[in-house]
């Protein structure tokens, strides 16, 4: 039984059953096909995937796609509502909100991807060390992770940014630190479940070097739950960045990120709703997409979820 408080921080996919691979630990050949099959049956998840691709395109080519530059000012149209010329209206400096929302995708996604990427690398590494080498390394590393888990996410992120000074890199570091523990925990759980498998112990006994064991047997089994968590974390990282930037602690003006645009909109909420609503919707759409895709992936990579019916097929 996992303790209730651990429910929120335990791995979201069950690594023990996530091994879709064969006995040699290679990832199941059908898993890519399974992913495709699941996505087709879940139109929402498919939609989410498309949105993510769209956002990625905006992040990479936003400056080319956007009708105006991020700081181009249209002096005649300050705080103007949505119109044919400015679909999302303009802000207090006369900047086109649509263009800024498009261009802001870059910063928002960059922070998310970089910090989650760093958290993933650090977390997986720590989890591997803890799970594989056990005992002291395990206790020490996991106690450290417990300490990090003891802080509510926003609180820790704000504290870290506070000491490092506000800015996009501080935000990335803060988010990376805050999201490392969950990856560590998932990895460790996967490692523990696989380490005791006969084929792994056999490999150890004949002297296969650790690095090879980890690489060929353990990592493929960790991949599934990690992928699921990555998708979910990418979404939540966007939320965290948005919150930090909204407080003025993240992406700094004039660089746009969706959160930073909400920060700019603070003082004009009553007069110019479009300044806040559109960046906000962009956030919601993107995070929702990551969540939907993550959920769909979890169904593929967590085969324990057989339908009641298949189980009932046995008399």
């Amino acid at each position: 039984m996992t303790t209730p408080s651990a429910q929120f921080t335990e791995p979201v996919a069950d690594p023990a059953t996530a091994a879709t691979g064969d006995a040699a630990g290679r990832p199941g050949a059908g898993s890519a096909r399974d992913v495709a099959r699941v996505l087709i049956r879940r139109p929402l998840a498919l939609g989410g995937l498309l949105v993510i691709c769209l956002m990625a395109v905006l992040a990479l080519f936003g400056t080319q796609i956007a009708p105006d530059g991020e700081n181009d000012v249209d002096v005649s149209q300050m705080l103007a509502g949505p119109s044919a010329k400015h679909w999302f209206g303009t802000d207090e400096l006369g900047r086109d909100v649509l263009s800024r929302v498009i261009i802001a995708a870059h910063a928002s996604l960059e922070v998310s991807v970089v910090s989650v990427g760093a958290a993933l690398v650090a977390g997986v590494l720590l989890g591997l060390l803890a799970g594989y080498y056990g005992r002291f390394a395990d206790s020490f590393i996991m106690r450290c992770m417990d300490v990090l888990f003891a802080f509510p996410v926003m609180l820790l992120a704000i504290a870290i940014v506070a000491v490092l000074g506000a800015g996009i890199s501080s935000a990335m570091i803060a988010i990376a630190v805050v999201y490392t523990p969950i990856f560590a925990r998932i990895t460790r759980a996967s490692v523990l479940s696989v380490r005791e498998e006969v084929y792994v112990r056999a490999a150890v006994s004949i002297g296969v070097p650790d690095r090879e064991i980890i690489g060929r047997h353990i990592l493929p089994n960790v991949a599934g739950p990690i992928i699921v968590q990555t998708s979910l974390s990418l979404g939540f990282a966007i939320l965290t960045e948005a919150a930090l930037s909204f407080l003025g602690l993240g992406v700094q003006p004039p660089q746009p990120s969706w959160g930073a645009m909400l920060y700019d909109a603070r003082g004009f909420v009553e007069q110019a709703w479009w300044m806040a609503v559109f960046p906000g919707l962009a956030i919601v759409l993107t995070v929702l997409s990551f969540n939907l895709v993550g959920d769909a992936l979890r169904d593929v990579l967590d085969p324990r979820r057989r339908t009641q019916l298949e189980a009932a097929g046995r008399p």
Partner: protein, 314 residues
């Protein structure tokens, strides 16, 4: 069970120590001299030296930590770089506001999530279920302060009669407090509702699938009674613990909402401390909130162990 309690409490103590270490380290990670940075333009040699001494920064590092720990245990968390007020005092001034907001938000969340989650589980695989799941997916994807902004747009100023910010304490004027707390509590509560709906749905669904429910059905007990007597009663404990954990995380999670609505609680205090580079206050809020979070999680785990007869009667 006693062993479980002992182990769990011991774990919490260790983690709490770790937390104090992290909090303590924060002030030392500041590039430059924290007191100098904290004083900023109000820099004055005498004040600087006094504050430095008061914050114990003139002692060697390890001694500092133990001195910090020692003081913290007796309730002394230093003094504010800005006002010179004892941090502990400031914290307890601000705590009630955060508590009233978090609790109200949680109540709203539970009132929405409970019927929705149970309904979704009972009407599993129907449009009600799918609808509930989509709504809760949506709710989890929205920043709480964005909901707050939308609420402000929709319900304040010319559009409505609720105040967009400000605070009146519960004890001095309940009605005004109610008017002021409603929007921030809704912002917080709607997100909490989304998270809770998922858990409640899962918990109820899990119980519904259990063999003893089939036995109760076979015995001829009416469906509604099976739901009430067997399913809900058994799902109660996991649900209660989830609610408890949610409360704990709300205490730390209301920061941005407090800033948006200028709600003078610990969250706003944290933000102000960051803005003003008031490190002792920042340390204080982080420590207090993290400690509360830890304690609530611990209590929830212990409650679970106590209530489940399978564990307590062994």
């Amino acid at each position: 069970m006693l062993r479980f309690i002992r182990r769990r409490v011991a774990q919490s103590v260790i983690v709490l120590l770790g937390v104090t270490l992290v909090v303590f380290t924060l002030i030392h990670l500041v590039p430059g001299d924290p007191v100098r940075v904290g004083l900023g333009i109000r820099f004055n040699e005498a004040t600087y030296l006094a504050l430095r001494h008061r914050a114990g920064l003139d002692k060697p590092l390890v001694m500092q930590y133990f001195s910090y720990l020692g003081h913290a245990v007796t309730g002394d968390l230093g003094v504010s770089f800005q006002t010179g007020q004892p941090v502990t005092q400031i914290l307890f001034q601000r705590l009630p506001a955060t508590l009233s907001l978090a609790v109200t938000g949680l109540i709203i969340g539970v009132l929405i999530a409970f019927p929705l989650g149970v309904l979704a589980a009972v009407r599993h695989d129907t449009w009600i279920d799918s609808g509930a799941r989509v709504i809760s997916q949506l709710g989890v994807s929205v920043p709480d302060f964005f909901i707050g902004i939308l609420l402000i747009l929709g319900l304040t100023g010319t559009a409505g009669s609720l105040p967009p910010s400000g605070y009146v304490s519960l004890t001095s004027d309940p009605v005004e407090w109610g008017r002021h707390v409603l929007l921030p509590a809704l912002a917080v509560g709607l997100v909490a509702a989304s998270i809770l709906t998922r858990f409640i749905r899962t918990a109820v669904l899990e119980e519904l699938g259990r063999d003893y429910v089939r036995t109760a059905d076979a015995k001829g007990i009416p469906a509604a009674t099976v739901l009430r007597r067997h399913v809900m009663r058994n799902a109660f404990v996991p649900v209660l613990t989830v609610v408890g954990v949610q409360l704990a995380s709300l205490l730390g999670g209301v920061i941005v909402v407090e800033v948006l609505f200028a709600w003078p609680g610990l969250g706003l205090l944290t933000y102000q401390a960051v803005e003003e580079r008031d490190y002792p206050v920042l340390q204080g809020t982080v420590l207090l909130i993290a400690a509360i979070f830890l304690v609530v999680n611990l209590l929830v785990d212990l409650l679970y162990a106590v209530i489940d007869p399978r564990i307590s009667l062994r």
